[in-house]
Symmetry: C2
Subunit: 469 residues, 2 copies
């Protein structure tokens, strides 16, 4: 591989100049990954500025059989973009332009390297916004790769519902386009959804057409405390069943509130707390507020507070916004590992109760925060990076969470993706038959298994090809 990479550098570095990176000190700055997976330094990084350059890179690496990993902001949590085999990393940071915003069609066309915050900054004058908000300031390309979402998927959907069309460079350098600008289509296989969530293992997204939403006339935010998780979850279930189009419904458990009180100098009651946000016109929001207040009180909710004032909204949501840094601060120097199961909401109380039992059994303390409108919740472990035994205990808790989620028809990952960390869980979730079919697709599109090797599948697609062919 070293010879191949040297030959590639000889061919490519004249084309890319400073953007073909081989110096160890610069490469070290691309060892990006959040969470508990090891950070891996790429062998070579290239920074294309155009689609044509991406095609050139893909064709050249195709000829030489060199692995390729796509990198966005490097904020993924399951090692999704870690270059675990020697090869090249394509950093999309210089392909960060917003190519078009269409207000009447409520869509935009962007390059993959634009971050969600930069996109919203650019959109501010259009009356439109891009609602998806994973914790980090991820790039759109990265969010497409992991089928990301965030706190308001309950109203606006995930990347699955947001990506209308893509331009994708296939492993051999061919550029294709998928989807259209129409809001619906029955024209052939749904390639857009095949690439969305494929974690860079099938092709590289170089352009995306995204659905946008109107900035709400009014935003109302607030919170409720409950004596029990059940009370909070029943409030969520009743709210969704009544069709109240709530924008956010977030749960913090008592451990999460305790961490936030310490971190943000608050004195919130250390009880299960539901954070709610409503988006819409005056009359609709007021109607929703009354409905939710009634539902919450029926389910034992107390201390109901809501406000449309921006400062007051921020104060009320402070604990929710600070949950991740608060978890990190519970243990200075710790690595935070965020788990990610998602269950049908009728099973959410049980899933959280089962998580609390598993955390206690393992002798750990870990806050739980949840996008409960979707049934998605995260246990936030703050772990000593040098304590292997403690990490194994956290791993056992994670396994128990996944087992429980799968036993009730849920999924091992709501929004973080499979990456390196959930490869065995993928097999448990979908079964051999479906994962075999995923491998068949991978082999058909990337027969040399060059794209993001080691991700999604525990066994490289080629290694077990004999039994299929």
């Amino acid at each position: 591989m070293n010879d191949l990479l040297d030959a590639l550098t000889e061919e490519m570095s004249p084309l890319f100049g400073e953007r073909w990176i081989t110096s160890p000190s610069r490469l070290a700055t691309f060892a990006l990954s959040e969470g508990h997976h090891a950070k891996v330094t790429p062998s070579i990084v290239v920074q294309p500025e155009t689609t044509e350059e991406v095609c050139t890179i893909m064709a050249a690496t195709h000829r030489r059989g060199i692995p390729v990993v796509a990198l966005g902001a490097g904020t993924s949590l399951e090692g999704n973009a870690s270059p675990v085999e020697r090869g090249i990393t394509i950093d999309f940071g210089k392909m960060d332009r917003i190519l078009e915003v269409s207000a009447p069609d409520m869509l935009c066309v962007v390059q993959p390297g634009v971050t969600r915050i930069d996109l919203n900054t650019e959109l501010r004058t259009t009356g439109l916004f891009f609602p998806l908000d994973p914790g980090a300031n991820a790039t759109i390309g990265g969010m497409i790769a992991t089928r990301a979402s965030g706190t308001n998927a309950v109203r606006y959907g995930t990347m699955r519902e947001t990506v209308l069309a893509l331009k994708v460079v296939l492993p051999d350098g061919t550029l294709i386009k998928t989807g259209s600008r129409a809001r619906k289509s029955a024209a052939g296989y749904d390639l857009t959804h095949l690439f969305t969530g494929s974690e860079g293992t099938l092709g590289l997204v170089v352009e995306a057409t995204l659905r946008l939403h109107g900035i709400p006339e009014k935003i109302l935010a607030g919170s409720f405390t409950f004596d029990t998780i059940e009370g909070a979850v029943s409030t969520v279930i009743n709210t969704i069943q009544l069709g109240v189009g709530v924008a956010r419904m977030e749960l913090l458990d008592p451990a999460a509130i305790r961490a936030c009180n310490a971190f943000s100098h608050l004195d919130l009651p250390e009880l299960p707390t539901l954070f709610i946000e409503l988006h819409g016109g005056e009359a609709i929001i007021e109607d929703q507020r009354m409905t939710i207040e009634a539902i919450g009180k029926d389910n034992g909710g107390r201390d109901f507070q809501m406000s449309s004032d921006a400062d007051e909204r921020n104060r009320l949501f402070r604990a929710r916004h600070d949950a991740l840094p608060a978890a990190r601060a519970t243990r200075p120097g710790a690595v935070v590992w965020s788990t990610d199961v998602c269950v049908p909401i009728s099973h959410l109380s049980d899933a959280i109760a089962s998580a609390h039992a598993a955390i206690a059994d393992a002798g750990l303390t870990a806050p739980i925060v949840g996008h409960v409108g979707d049934g998605n919740f995260h246990v936030l472990f703050a772990l000593d990076p040098d304590d292997q035994e403690e990490r194994q205990r956290a791993e056992r808790v994670n396994e128990a969470l996944v087992d429980h989620a799968l036993s009730v028809g849920g999924t091992c990952t709501g929004e973080h993706g499979i990456g390196l960390g959930k490869r065995e869980a993928l097999l448990r979730e979908h079964g051999e038959g479906a994962v075999d079919l995923m491998r068949t697709l991978k082999r058909a599109i990337d027969p040399d298994a060059r794209l993001n090797p080691g991700k999604i599948f525990a066994i490289a697609p080629q290694a077990d090809a004999a039994k299929h062919d």
Copy 2:
């Protein structure tokens, strides 16, 4: 093929008895297809009652290389389920059970042969409903196959947003499951969306988990007339931009209103007419009504009428409901051909104007009805089945509609699928690269090209394999 089919009958008919159908008179009743494509009688029909039986059929036909076509209600419009090669047709009519309804999770699990109307009848006592309503009483399996929708996709989405999980029998008889009951997931390739819209060419759906919605507390329906299509379409655009969660927004052009006046003995003004339906609670609906009335009047709308009374709602929507039979009745004995382009809504006025010009140029008269909230509209040709020259003129209009839709970033089919009729259009829409990738997927999953041969691709996937392998 005849020998192969005889051998298959010898093997299978003892297992299926009366449900293995080879008599010409019974087979003739399965020559089902709506619209302008020829009806084709299957060589053999089998009616499985269980998933296991479907696996048995698929394994047996796999061993013998026999083509297989899945059949639902037979109401598709592009010849999507016509058995154009000799082989067997699997009629899913006896797999019509509703296996489970979960009210708290707002989902149901059904067999593919249940029709949308039967599903809603069964759901009536649960407070939930299945909103998608293609014109015909299609089966769920057929609706999954064509990624169908109907009049209220603008609020509730299409089958793309509705199918949460599937059980699918692959060409070799392997049973797999895709998706989960979680509302979102980032676990591996999105196989659910790969099968949804694949028109039975990749595998056969034997079970589907579908998202349901709460029956609205109140329904308000009404209509507006406009002097121009632009006025009606601007009303739609403004309504959607303001985030009014309208349930239905349907347009009838003057020719459609004229046909409905004749058919249903109405005397509506022969002007572009917008039919609107709102779903929700009292206060929200009233707010939406006021907003829409203001928007409509700003855009020149007149004769605004709305009612929540069921009889009055039916009266107001009568013309919309009767549009298809009214088009058919304009010419007794005619075959109705419904076109199906879908464009970004900013281009909808132009697309309809271009359609009107093309219809006039061709010397035809044809009403236009549209699910305008989605940018999807249908030109309804009523054609003399024996007049080839007239049909060619309609074909030219259809080509012009597709060309125009593609030129503005739209799609050649919003909800009817590709089938036999849109195969060339698929290529024009997606380009060689993307369609090549679709063929690669087809070959990887169905290497013998046995499933629904001749559909989606103009050239059989195997016939052009040499140039890819």
